[in-house]
Amino acid sequence: MRRLTWFNATSLTLGFAFLYLPMVILIIYSFNASKLVTVWAGFSTRWYGTLLQNQAFLDAAWVTLRVAVVSSTIATVLGTMAALVLVRAGRFVGRTLFSGMIYAPLVMPEVITGLSLLLLFIGIGLDRGVFTIILAHTTFSMCYVSVVVSSRLATFDRSLEEAALDLGCSPAEAFRLVTLPIIAPAVIAGWLLAFTLSLDDLVIASFTAGPSATTLPIKIWSSIRLGSAPRSTRSPPS
């Protein structure tokens, strides 16, 4: 190990400060006694108490959690299947188009994804709510799963599956007993990524959420916009 030089220590400090200072400030301000978010008025834990009594916020958190779990699970299944086809199927008609379509949502601006989904849901007369948010989140997080899983599959030794078949497995058993356990770390990583993306998403959720369901990021965003702290008296009808 080389010792930290003055230059390394400085760049490390600046780097970490850049990354984590905003979050540290957020944590400090969460103990702010003032009603105004930006003005410091002494230490207090009152907002934590208020939060626990704010049904609207708790509802939004519950919706977010459900959406994240369900959408990331569906996205993991679909994304893994897409990765299998992309890596395994060799050449087939429309392969380039298919792989392009899998990866397009990675670079698509969220506003476009959100708006197009909103138009689709209105077009087919689907009431917006938890279900539509799940659909939207599955759509965009699926491609992240597919990227993660296909990179693992690309280095997967096919002779392992052949060995499983050779030893008496049906193709489905070979997948369940050999392929899946070996690619499991990538599948889990894909699920976690999809879960985090879903928890965090504001833009797409705000296009596809309806009056019946609001996610936590939307709730927080709108609260800040209204210049207010979480308070039960201000909660909109849910």
Partner: protein, 392 residues
Amino acid sequence: MLFRPGAHADRSRQQRDTHGADRFRALERSGGGTAHPVPGVTKRFGDFTAIDNLSFDIYEKEFFALLGPSGCGKTTMMRMLAGFEAPSEGSILLGGQDIAPIPPNRRPVNMMFQSYALFPHLSVWENIAFGLKRDRMEKDRINARVAEMLKLTRLEQFASRKPHQISGGQRQRVALARSLAKAPKLLLLDEPMGALDAKLRQKTQFELMDIQEKTGTTFVIVTHDQEEAMTVASRVAVMDQGRIVQADTPARIYEQPNSVYVADFIGEVTIIDGTANPEGDGYEIAYAEGVPPLFVATDKKFARGQACHLAIRPEKVAISAERPEGRRNVLRGRILDIAYLGNISTYLVELPHGKVIKAQTANTRRLAHRPFTWEDEVWLSWSDTAAVLLEG
């Protein structure tokens, strides 16, 4: 490529040869009822014919080798035996049943993969038990069978290790134990020693022969290493471009090759092109202007003046300083190069008209006493039966 058996390997191979040949003849006598014939199978990939109407028999309990350079179709043939490729035409009979349409998981055939293909998430024990569990075997019998396999491959103390926690040689033995556990009718070995270093490879070859004899399983090995094929197999099939050129015991492949390709592929050889003229119990071979012809005794029939190739192994060419007496094939030449290999030396001797002949001698004496050096004029000679006459 050099064929250089050590004294130890040589003795053992000869024993095995006799053994293999006896067994082979016994099987021939029994009418081939226990054979697994492959009567004319073809495999095409698009326009490319990987296997061209290949027919051969694999006898019960024999150690059969498919030998050939890379791209000759030996791996494709093995994958068809395993069931990973379907033949484009023809059938493969195993115990009288055509297995061509049967998927790999229902065939009584197991394969040991070149990469070993050990399941990294399972222990050595679980790897070996994998196939047995698929057969819904009772727990006690699985335990007994796995214990037996671990003992056979001397892996008892590694049973609970994962594949990445053991050495390459041990992984190779796990792969062998796993493929043997289900007691297949046919065990396929795809370049099983490819990843081992030379010393370990030789040791493993003897172990493999030992295990094959102990279990009485029919082994089919695919290899590009002729020394390996000659060491382990009771019969060797030399392949070229999707066809079997010759399938025979190692001794007959080496001593009586049926073509220039086989003679050249197996071991070292000097090929002399010429024309055949009947003379006594053999043929005189005219190969250059103004030199006496060479003589070879053979049963094969050649027309007068037919183009032919004379194949002569370097170890059958004697090299001496004095003109040898009583031999018909005597040539004078100059030593062009010497390859000193420790146990033997190969001399490249140039004849006056430019033809280069390889001669080999065992180095039974220490270096200081070696008789010949570069640029020495020497006599080469061989007996009437030493060379093989091949059609052009």
